[in-house]
Symmetry: C2
Amino acid sequence: MEDRHEQWQAAERLALTLTEGGMQRMHARTLAAFLFTDAEAITMGEIGERLGVSAGSVSGAVKGLLSVGLIERLPAPGSRREHYHMRDDAWPRLFSTQNTVVHAMLQAAETGIATTEPDDPAHLRLARMRDFYQFLLRELPDLLRRWEQEHSRP
Amino acid sequence: MEDRHEQWQAAERLALTLTEGGMQRMHARTLAAFLFTDAEAITMGEIGERLGVSAGSVSGAVKGLLSVGLIERLPAPGSRREHYHMRDDAWPRLFSTQNTVVHAMLQAAETGIATTEPDDPAHLRLARMRDFYQFLLRELPDLLRRWEQEHSRP
DNA sequence: CCGAATTTTCAGTAATTCCTGAAGCCCTCA
DNA sequence: TGAGGGCTTCAGGAATTACTGAAAATTCGG
């Protein structure tokens, strides 16, 4: 049975998890609203009403979600209000934003290596760090490619 | 040449990156101190001095890093002060903490699916989400296993 | 083009997080 | 077993972050 209250609870829990994973609170709640809505697309006003927050907050969150490609603006069907919905590949995209973090870590390791003598214990630690993130940078794109193949749509 | 100032800068930048990735600020700075030190192991006092923070802050950060297995206490060589250092497998461990997030996401998706009708658009979205996180939960352990194989030469 | 409705921006404020400082505990060594 | 130093805990305060509310800008229908 459709239990909107349970769904709302599940949405808020999901937002909590995303927040702990590093996403901003408002962005997470907004994404959850997009995920759990029973419409194909929703407007900012509807999000604000559903979450009980101001239009300003929604504006900022939608902007952020757009910029990382988790949602997109729908070709407006002649309405004055903009409609948005989750992209089909939102979750792989969210996962792949990590790649920028991986890249930053790799660069940090290389900077450290460059400023350190080979006999410094820090040198060895930094080399291990570099090796691991190089490994990730090589493997993660493969992983996502495999996912896309499994779910190829013609 | 050994440039301690540059190293300190690199350490702080790394801490910044880790913070943006969701780690608490003090935990990140402490981990960076462990990474860049030129000793095999350091004490809380040394960390506090290096970062210019109170003993209380260091205590909390070290506790946190211990609990996720990024650092470990060394078998004390009869000293009054406790010595700690990064574990060799700190970075894979840090990466694998994600698995708990992945698991939480999967569960959130399944909860949503259970409270939603099959003809609800949310149902389809939640199913796609579930599929992706199931895929990750299957593939990520493989990834880490491959890393361990590549780097298990005693 | 004008006007209404939506969206964006931003300063102010509320809330949360984070760090400190000091007191108490524990452990080591004499 | 006592003294001294190191570690932990926690209440309080500082700083950062996040949200609101309202004004300005933008957009689309008329």
